[in-house]
């Protein structure tokens, strides 16, 4: 009973935090007048759960050797990553206003060493996933206890390297690797399953000897539960296929193709903030 209440409290806290993350996403993309809102918003609940509940990290010690590693393989969705890092205290919230601007540490696609908390450079789809595999091999080789987490896009699974990486994660028994697939079923040009049919994704990963968990990626209780189970799973790498909605939380962006890489204008920002404020209640 007590434990149940504690979990409910955690989930409520994370739900509120996810709203803050979404607000920062739309504000920073509006400020930059450039960036990728749709896939940032679809991954917001997953990222919030990771950064505010799951990852063993310390914003005051970004280079702490035993920290859990995180790689946003769908690097174009970095506004959600930057928002989580700023809200967690890796750098000031004010920094978010510099996204994509001249001499900012918040590059259009994230670069290791530029901003605190970025463990790997990303932005070219599939390659972040492979880097996460390399990082998990490193952890196994050095018998380190930390975990490696990565978030992939569903369009990203079109890339052949994703399957090369999936095979190598099985070879090295990387049960210290947890991938989350942000299955929002929209990519740049349209509906993911029409651009390139990848289903059955669960069966594909199972066939590559991964342990597969499927959830609703916007149900915070499910997200936390899946991430906890994935972290404890031994013997195989784990992928959580999280069914999500692109643009989640902003009324006019939800499941609309055009919001992959387009910034809101002033009026649209006001509506977005109103939508997110409404959802805060």
């Amino acid at each position: 009973m007590e434990q149940q209440r504690t979990i409910q409290k955690r989930v409520r806290y994370l739900e509120e935090k996810a709203k803050e993350v979404r607000v920062e996403i739309v504000k920073m993309i509006h400020e930059a007048q450039s960036g990728h809102p749709g896939g940032s918003l679809s991954a917001a609940d997953i990222m919030t759960a990771l950064y505010f509940d799951i990852l063993r990290i310390d914003p005051n010690k970004p280079e702490w050797p035993d920290r859990d590693r995180f790689v946003l393989s769908k690097g174009h969705a970095c506004p959600v990553w930057y928002a989580c890092l700023a809200l967690k205290g890796f750098f000031p919230i004010e920094t978010l206003k510099t996204l994509r601007k001249f001499e900012s540490k918040l590059q259009g696609h994230p670069i290791a060493g530029k901003a605190e908390g970025i463990d790997a450079s990303v932005g070219s789809l599939g390659i972040g996933f492979s880097q996460a595999v390399g990082m998990a091999i490193e952890a196994k080789m050095t018998r380190s206890k930390y975990m490696v987490y990565t978030v992939l896009g569903d369009g990203e699974t079109n890339e052949g390297i994703v399957w090369e990486a999936a095979a190598s994660a099985h070879k090295y028994h990387l049960d210290n690797l947890v991938a989350v697939l942000d299955r929002n079923n929209l990519q740049n040009d349209g509906i993911a399953e029409q651009i390139m049919p990848m289903e059955p994704l669960d069966e594909k990963f199972k066939a590559f000897n991964w342990h597969v968990i499927q959830i609703n990626g916007h149900n915070m209780a499910d997200v936390v539960d899946a991430l906890m189970k994935a972290g404890d799973y031994s013997g195989k790498p784990v992928i959580i296929i999280a069914n999500t909605e692109k643009g989640k939380g902003v009324s006019y962006m939800e499941n609309v193709r055009g919001w992959h890489g387009k910034p809101p204008n002033d009026e649209q920002l006001a509506i977005a903030l109103e939508d997110l404020k409404g959802s805060l209640k």
Binding site: G113, D119, S130, Q131, V133, G134, I161, A165, S168
Partner: protein, 318 residues
């Protein structure tokens, strides 16, 4: 210059040293793409199985996973053939190794037409153009097994990414145990006063032989071994050209965008002299035995001697 037949190719020299170095430096790892028995990286794998990762025939994933491990600061050697490292895996090499300036050392076998017999798919004839273009990348090309051993050490002891071009087949030994090799260095293998022939890798031997052929025509050629291609020894090149007043750059590579273009640019700025560069003339080669192939494509000693004599003639007519 009487040269000893080499007992092993440069790919073996590099990998033999990597095996020795594995006991000296216990931290570095090696990634392979099912080609270890060809690059001889397998020797390291047999001695240090816990530090050797064979990622299968998947070069892009191998290079990216190596970058993932090198993100920790660890030095990682990545073994493959030049065509695959510089083209199939080119994007992770550029964006995820060179850009973050990681300690990844690319062991690149089958450079140029030294893989003549394997045909065009296995002949890396654009590798130097691609690799020298990336910021932070340093590029080496040993001509003999001893140089390969020494340059392995240079790459391991210098931070950042390295690309080392190696050869498939054994050619000759030129260097003794006490030769010193440094990043940005070169070797003057033959002194001469009429023309400088600058070469690297296997073509160093053709250049030396060309210099012998040229003596019959009364031409005294100086031969430079540019074992370090990026950075390269600009001082030595300029000093030699100021003395000889003529330059032929010869390389087992496309004539376009290789060291010939690089040195032409240097000379235009600082010391314009009669100049030519030999390489593949905007064309692919083919399968065949190495001597026949390099002769057909203009890189044999005989062909280089002809090119050099023409440059010397230009100097006389100037």
């Amino acid at each position: 210059m009487n040269l000893e037949k080499a007992s092993k190719p440069t790919r073996r020299g590099y990998s033999d040293r990597m095996l020795e170095y594995g006991s000296i430096d216990k931290d570095f790892t090696v990634f392979d793409a099912d080609i270890g028995y060809s690059t001889y990286a397998c020797l390291f794998g047999e001695a240090f199985p816990e530090r050797y990762f064979n990622m299968g025939i998947a070069e892009m994933n191998m290079v990216s996973a190596a970058a993932g491990m090198a993100n920790s600061g660890r030095t990682v050697v990545v073994s493959s053939y030049g065509v695959f490292l510089t083209m199939r895996a080119v994007e992770p090499v550029r964006s995820f190794i060179c850009y973050p300036n990681l300690n990844v050392k690319l062991l690149s076998s089958h450079g140029g037409l030294t893989a003549a017999i394997d045909g065009v798919t296995h002949q890396a004839t654009e590798d130097i153009a691609i690799m020298t273009t990336f910021p932070n990348m340093k590029v080496l090309c040993p001509s003999d097994p001893k140089a390969a051993e020494k340059l392995f050490d240079v790459s391991m002891q210098t931070p950042g990414p390295f690309f080392t071009r190696l050869m498939r087949d054994p050619l000759f030994d030129v260097y003794g145990d006490d030769e010193e090799f440094v990043l940005g260095g070169s070797k003057t293998l033959r002194k001469g006063s009429d023309i400088t022939i600058a070469a690297y890798g296997d073509i160093v031997f053709q250049a030396l032989e060309a210099a012998e052929l040229l003596t019959a025509q009364g031409i005294d050629a100086e031969v430079l071994d540019l074992y370090s291609l990026k950075p390269y020894d600009k001082e030595a090149v300029l000093a030699s050209v100021k003395k000889t007043g003529a330059m032929l750059v010869a390389e087992n590579h496309q004539a376009k965008n290789g060291m010939g273009y690089e040195i032409a640019h240097l000379l235009l700025k600082h010391c314009p002299v009669p100049f030519d560069n030999a390489g593949l003339e905007d064309m692919f080669a083919e399968s065949g035995d190495y001597p026949s192939i390099i002769h057909k494509y203009g890189l044999s000693a005989e062909k280089l001697a002809g090119r050099a004599a023409a440059v010397v003639q230009m100097k006389k007519e100037n």
